[in-house]
């Protein structure tokens, strides 16, 4: 009796588990248009969302997060169709591990210092070194954090140290930095020029001297084993030359050095 009960239990378990497995394998919508999953850096949110509406070969579904988090998901076995990062290092790493196709640079961005649009006590990079200033930055693992550290490393040691000492939060993605400055929690934050443009007038950008090399290059690639490889490839093509390219420019991204 007891044995029979557990056999039935196992059978039911197996039926349910296999049922789930087979139904989740399909990602084709009821209308017949495939759903394209795109993992993209947080800073691409506005441009990609607009491009996704224009992209008619598939229904684009986006997962926006820190590029490093998305790369870690892919390493742990997640298989989006497209991976777009706010640097070239992460896509290159995934490519060398055979997880994605060869990445291409599709946009550039510029690191700026974001401050509240009005009433800010920060007028330049040098002001960040003053005591009591609260700075939000990206964590070192996320591209915006890496660029921030790179920019700071170009400053005189004393100034760099003072600024680093004023960093009060290491946010997991650039959205967190934007939010902290927009809410007035932080006095300033290192973000991309496109984030300031997307803030709807809440933020103001202070430019960082070109000598500190605040330029960011964005890499994109089709993920190996993508369910909709053809659509994924045309999504990438559109970023290089098409509707996506236009949306990127509209959002304030630079054109890649081809």
């Amino acid at each position: 009796m007891k044995l029979r009960v557990s056999v039935v239990a196992l059978a039911v378990c197996a039926a349910i588990v296999s049922g789930c497995g087979s139904s989740s394998g399909s990602s084709t919508g009821s209308s017949g248009t495939p759903t394209l999953t795109v993992s993209a850096a947080t800073s691409l949110t506005d441009a990609f969302t607009a491009y996704g509406k224009q992209f008619d070969e598939a229904k684009a579904r986006f997962s926006f997060a820190g590029s490093d988090q998305l790369a870690a998901q892919i390493q742990q076995g997640a298989r989006p169709d497209v991976y777009a990062a706010a640097n070239t290092k992460l896509p290159d790493q995934l490519y060398s591990k055979g997880l994605i196709e060869k990445p291409v640079v599709f946009a550039t961005n510029t690191l700026v210092l974001a401050v509240p649009a009005s009433g800010s006590k920060i007028a330049s990079l040098a002001d960040l070194a003053k005591p009591g200033v609260k700075i939000a930055a990206g964590a070192p693992s996320v591209p915006v954090g890496t660029y921030t550290l790179k920019v700071l490393s170009g400053l005189p040691a004393a100034e760099r140290k003072a600024i680093e000492g004023n960093i009060v939060s290491s946010e997991p993605d650039v959205g967190g930095v934007v939010g902290k400055v927009a809410e007035g929690a932080a006095d300033a934050g290192f973000v991309y020029i496109t984030d300031v443009k997307a803030s709807g007038g809440k933020l103001k950008a202070l430019t960082i001297p070109a000598s500190l090399n605040p330029t960011a290059a964005y890499g994109v690639a089709v993920v190996k084993g993508a369910k909709h490889e053809q659509q994924a490839q045309s999504f990438v093509n559109g970023l290089l030359n098409g509707a996506g390219h236009q949306q990127l420019q509209k959002a304030g991204f630079g054109v890649p050095p081809q």
Binding site: M1, R4, V5, S6, V8, A9, L10, V12, C13, I16, G66, D68, Q69, A71, A72, Q75, Q76, K134, A136, A139, S141, V142, I167, V168, S169, S170, E171, P172, G176, G179, K180, E183, G184, A185, A186
Partner: protein
């Protein structure tokens, strides 16, 4: 008879499925890498710092919750007053609020540009980006777990005991301290453990309200998220510690008080 057997089979199947589903991710944390690797990645000072911060903030938050929550729960359990059900609803609300909502709400209330932001600043207190802010976030999300349990425990206390105490000349306060609290201690302990567990696991409200900075506001769950991208083993190691602490908490309460955590009911 035959019908009963099928029904039993169904129940067993459901429980088996639930157990597999609930145990698998917890077990995987320990099985994904070798115990030696887990242990060695805990040697990283940033990991120990995050754990220390999590424990400290949770202890302080739960202490505040117990000090304020115990009398508040007693009031809710023993008196009726206009608007009581509304008060109970507000006490319960953080239980079902998404943590991100809690975070944005705390910012809107106590942040530098929040409605009480000026007051907070004038008081010379800084919450955002400080450990104090973490404690505020933990207290907000964890308080209902304790207050609801304590309220339920006080409500089931035998009224005759309380009346007898008062008849014998003990004042209301004395009765509360000497009779009601000891009688409700099992339910209170269960609430305390639940509340502590929730505080220990807090992520969203902390990140949004207090930010994430090593040693100051980066609690263990934030450190796990941070490490996910750079150091998966390190993230697993921190997770393993949190699983162990949470399990010890559950077991401890069950052994000490014989109380099932969620229902507060004795076995």
């Amino acid at each position: 008879m035959r019908g009963t057997r099928w029904f039993s089979a169904l129940l067993v199947a459901a429980l088996a499925l639930a157990l597999v589903f609930l145990i698998l991710p917890v077990a995987a944390i320990f099985l994904n890498t070798s115990p030696a690797k887990l242990l060695s990645s805990l040697n990283d000072p940033s990991a120990t710092e995050a754990l220390r911060l999590s424990l400290e903030c949770s202890v302080i938050a739960v202490t505040i919750i117990v000090i304020v929550g115990t009398p508040a729960a007693y009031l809710l359990a023993t008196r009726s007053f206009p608007g009581k059900s509304l008060a109970v609803t507000f006490v319960e609300l953080p239980l079902v609020l998404p943590p991100a909502v809690a975070g944005i709400g705390l910012l809107a209330a106590l942040g530098p540009e929040g409605i009480l932001g000026g007051l907070v600043k004038d008081a010379g207190v800084q919450l955002v980006f400080t450990t104090a802010g973490v404690i505020v976030a933990l207290t907000f999300v964890a308080a209902p777990f304790y207050i609801r349990q304590a309220q339920a425990a006080f409500a089931t206390t035998d009224r005759n005991l309380l009346d007898a105490s008062r008849t014998l000349g003990a004042g209301e306060a004395r009765t509360w301290l000497r009779i009601a609290i000891p009688a409700a201690r099992h339910g209170m302990a269960a609430g305390l453990a639940l509340s502590f567990g929730r505080a220990l696991g807090e992520f969203g409200a902390t990140l949004m309200f207090a930010g994430s900075f090593q040693g100051v506001t980066q609690t263990a769950p934030l450190a796990i998220y941070q490490r996910f991208s750079t150091d998966f083993t390190g993230a697993l190691a921190l997770s393993a510690v949190l699983v162990a602490v949470s399990a010890a908490l559950l077991l401890g309460v069950k052994l000490v008080s014989g109380v099932s955590l969620l229902t507060g009911a004795s076995r």
